[in-house]
Amino acid sequence: MMTLQVNGRAHQVDADPDTPLLYVLRDDLELNAAKFGCGLGQCGSCTVIVDGNAVLSCVTPLLLVEGKQVTTLEGLGTVDSPSPIQRAFIEEQAAQCGYCIAGMMMRAQALLRKNSSPTDEQIRAELEPHLCRCGTHMRILRAVQRAARLMQTADASTGQRSAQ
């Protein structure tokens, strides 16, 4: 048994320490957002945030995240109460099939927590590890810019949110 902190809650997980975090999130904790795309760290679909940094969960063994704070897209908000980045992606309709989107959003979220007003170039550079096959890139870029504006507004009105 290992203890895993996910989305602010402690979970007891019965999985081998070499199990990639992705499978623990999906199978043991039944979280949907982190996606299996390659299992090779090549596409970004599985990206989650660990202690504030974007991490490829498909190549990160459970052992390495014990005691750390893991955040998945589910931890940001819900359909009824979406976080700024979720609102931004809905408002920009920044998805086609959407399979890659959760990973994109997590890396963008990590970026925006460190840099609240990134340039277009900085966003593109940050999203470089991520593949989108539907060609939704223009909308994804717009959604990240919109998320930055929404987060600034939210931060200004509610005070600094806790990390992530």
Binding site: F36, Q42, C43, C132, G135, T136
Partner: protein, 744 residues
């Protein structure tokens, strides 16, 4: 999420006071197949032809709730939202009040495949007309009750309103089998000027779940007691499993079963990562005998044009008066290319009481059912296929194969839901690729710089090896008693396959188009977005630029000189004007402007795309800077959805065009992941893409999913030629090929 669909047929039938949804498809097909004695009556539009009963499409419950049934699937292109808009509009109900059920062999009509940009034309049209006719029946019922003429009634918000203001809810009006009637050939459709829902950029219904971690994909389904399976595929086409000691596999944690059936090998475990470890162990234990069957990749165009082919002249026009003075020739090639879905294929199957249910991201639930039933040697009725979204497919990827894998494994574990997830490497190596193609063009210009004769030859495999039939699925091919791969067939014109868009949309006095259909398939191939149109439009529109250059005419003007179709001319004008295209324009240094146009399939949507491309002369690296598109897809249902499709087509086609080719040695596919099959990344995303829609109210839906692929490729190729002065004719237009051309 689409599944597990709560609404099953039993509940539908039990729905108190509701219409009986009984889409008498078998009756309908029987009627269609029986030769009518008299001249057939005019058939209703869209898929109503195949499934004419209104209640195949629309169910209204006594409580007024409305369900729309479509046999097409949501492939991540916004179809479900668009169809909901159509139904809401014609039924006069709020958009949010509808529930849409998509492709399911128990619940929806058989609309074949969700492919070919046909969903709006087939299913959208059927649902628009069915909804209008249902509304008419409800109005007639209210009029009958009050004994007043129907003209005195109107509809609003799910109710029929009487002249005195009395409201009759649809649920109150509907009774017995009122909607179990055949559709009329003509419907009283709403005037587009009065549309409230259609034509609006309604946000997609599926996006909120997708951006909040909701269950949105078949990959996200978790059925009670579900176990995880992995397949061990052969290392190459035709490899034979000669030995496999499975004894040690059973000693691994969580392993439930090893399934071996001839060359089909799979392992099932309790947890997913246990299944992965067991797959790796099983893969190491399996000994295969391989055969070198693949052609030389570097020699592919010669191989293709040397294979036996069935040749047919698909278009010929002669006018001996028009004589050419200057002749131009060119050969264009396309490699095998991969769909490359970001989520490898996945399916879940459960075998209970001799009934097999498969949840699949297939494009065709009915053809899949047929293939799986044949493979399992069970009656068709005992298999149910339910579409649940997967990652975008862009054609025939591994979806159907994964569905067959799941069914074959689940049969060995009765009662237990089995989830099969392909690996990245399996998807890349085993998906049916978009076929390699060769085109040879020759044309002559007359004294006025117009094309006097045009010769176009295309060499291609078929562009569909889809199910049904067990032999089209890998599991069916690999089992001990295998099913033969069905003989490939060229796809019929006017839509065509390898010859899709081979016939030019332009008017030439003399023209001849020959299709060399190649039955032999060295690599596994099938339908990939736009089929042959991608390469044929790339060829035609590249060659039009070459000819414009030879004629000394501006490329846009040159196209307009040869095009009569006013809707085609309109998209060309619009794209050129919005781009700022000018005759004798000069692109900035190391940049080029390109233009291309096509009407998809010569019968669907019109699309023109202007591009600006930057080429680094030192490295040869190209970058699409901006693209401006104009599209006419008929009556627009969701403008933002249409724009999203064209934006995506441009970006995806740019990736195909600049980077992508499947690689192989004499035995194995060697492009098996994103390192060995690189695609577009963010550093190459354009600065801007603009899409301009030309809406055509009341005109038929023309679809949009594939219209941009060909024009985008040619426009980029033309811009590279404009930037470098060098014409590249072999896809992909890689950095190295551009650099070599610059240095040549």
């Amino acid at each position: 999420m689409n599944a597990p669909v709560i609404l099953d047929r039993r509940r539908v039938l039990a729905g108190g006071g509701a219409l009986i949804v009984s889409f008498s498809l078998r009756d309908a097909f029987a009627q269609n197949q029986a030769a009518p004695a008299a001249a057939p009556p005019p058939s209703p539009p869209g898929s109503l032809k195949q499934a004419p009963f209104l209640d195949s499409w629309i169910r209204i419950d006594a409580d007024g709730s409305i369900t729309v049934f479509t046999g097409k699937a949501e492939l991540g292109q916004g179809f479900k939202t668009a169809v909901q808009q159509i139904a809401a509009e014609e039924l006069d109900v709020p958009f949010e009040s509808l529930k849409v059920v998509t492709a399911d062999t128990r619940l929806t009509a058989n609309e074949g495949y969700t492919s070919g940009s046909n969903s709006m034309k087939d299913s959208g049209t059927a649902i628009q007309n069915a909804a209008a006719q249902v509304r008419g029946l409800l109005v007639a019922e209210a009029a009958r009750r009050l004994d007043l003429p129907v003209e005195n009634f109107r509809t609003e918000g799910g109710a029929v309103i009487a002249p005195d203001g009395r409201r009759f809810g649809y649920g109150d009006l509907v009774a017995a089998d009122m909607l179990h009637v055949q559709a009329q050939p003509k419907s009283k459709l709403k005037d587009p000027a009065t549309f409230k829902v259609m034509g609006q950029p309604i946000p997609r219904v599926d996006i909120p779940a997708k951006v909040t971690g909701g269950a949105a994909y078949v990959q996200d389904m978790r059925l009670p007691g579900m176990v995880h399976a992995r397949v061990v595929r052969p290392p190459s086409y035709g490899a034979q499993l000669v030995d496999c000691d499975t004894g040690e596999i059973y000693a691994l944690a969580g392993v439930i079963k090893v399934v071996r059936d001839g060359n089909f090998l799979a392992v099932v475990a309790t947890k997913e990562f246990q299944a992965i470890k067991a797959m790796n162990a099983l893969s190491a234990a399996a000994k295969w005998q391989e055969t070198a069957t693949l052609p030389k990749q570097d020699d592919l165009p010669r191989v293709l044009t040397s294979l036996p082919s069935q040749d047919s002249t698909i278009f010929e026009q002669k006018n001996p008066v028009a004589a050419g003075q200057k002749t131009v020739e060119a050969t264009y090639t396309r490699p095998y290319q991969a769909h490359g879905s970001i989520g490898p294929s996945c399916a879940i199957a459960q075998f209970i009481n001799r009934a097999m249910t498969v949840w699949t991201h297939t494009q065709g639930v009915y053809p899949d059912r047929q293939g799986i039933a044949e493979m399992l040697r069970v009656p068709l009725e005992s298999v149910r296929c339910i579409h649940v979204e997967g990652s975008g497919c862009y054609g025939h990827n591994g979806a159907d194969d994964a569905a067959a894998d799941a069914a074959l494994i689940a049969r060995a574990l009765p009662g237990v839901p089995v989830r099969v997830q392909w690996t990245r490497e399996q998807e890349h190596a085993w998906e049916p690729f978009g076929p390699a193609m060769v085109t040879k063009l020759r044309a002559s210009l007359d004294g006025e710089g117009k094309i006097s004769d045009w010769n176009f030859e295309v060499w291609s495999n078929t562009h569909s090896m889809r199910p049904g039939g067990a032999g089209s699925m890998l599991a069916g091919q690999h089992m001990a008693q295998p099913f033969a791969v069905p003989a490939p067939k060229p796809l019929a014109l006017p839509e065509g396959g390898g010859d899709r868009n081979a016939i030019p949309g332009y008017k030439f006095p003399n023209a001849k188009v020959v299709h060399h259909f190649i039955p032999a398939m060295p690599l596994r191939i099938s339908a990939m977005r736009a089929l042959g149109a991608y390469h044929n439009v790339f060829s035609i529109e590249s060659f039009m630029d070459e000819l414009a250059g030879a004629a000394g005419t501006d490329p846009v003007e040159f196209r307009l000189k040869h095009l009569d179709d006013p809707r085609g001319r309109d998209v060309i004008d619009k794209a050129a004007q919005a781009f700022g295209w000018r005759k004798s324009q000069q692109a900035p240094p190391d940049r080029g402007f390109g233009f291309a146009y096509a009407r998809y399939k010569n019968l669907a949507a019109y699309c023109a795309i202007a591009t600006e491309v930057e080429v680094n002369r030192e490295t040869g690296r190209p970058r699409l800077v901006r693209a401006v598109a104009a599209v006419d897809s008929g009556q627009v249902v969701n403008p933002d959805g249409l724009i999203n499709q064209i934006e995506g087509a441009i970006v995806q086609s740019m990736s195909w065009t600049l980077y992508e080719s499947v690689t192989f040695d004499d035995t194995r596919i060697t492009s098996i992941d994103w390192q060995t099959y690189p695609i577009l990344r963010f550093n190459a995303v354009p600065d801007s893409i603009e899409v301009h829609i030309i809406n055509r109210p009341s005109q038929p839906f023309l679809g949009s999913g594939e219209t941009g692929q060909g024009p985008a490729a040619a426009s980029i190729a033309n811009a590279i030629a404009n930037a470098t002065g060098k014409r590249l004719r072999h896809l992909p237009l890689t950095r190295k090929r551009i650099k070599d051309a610059i240095d040549a």
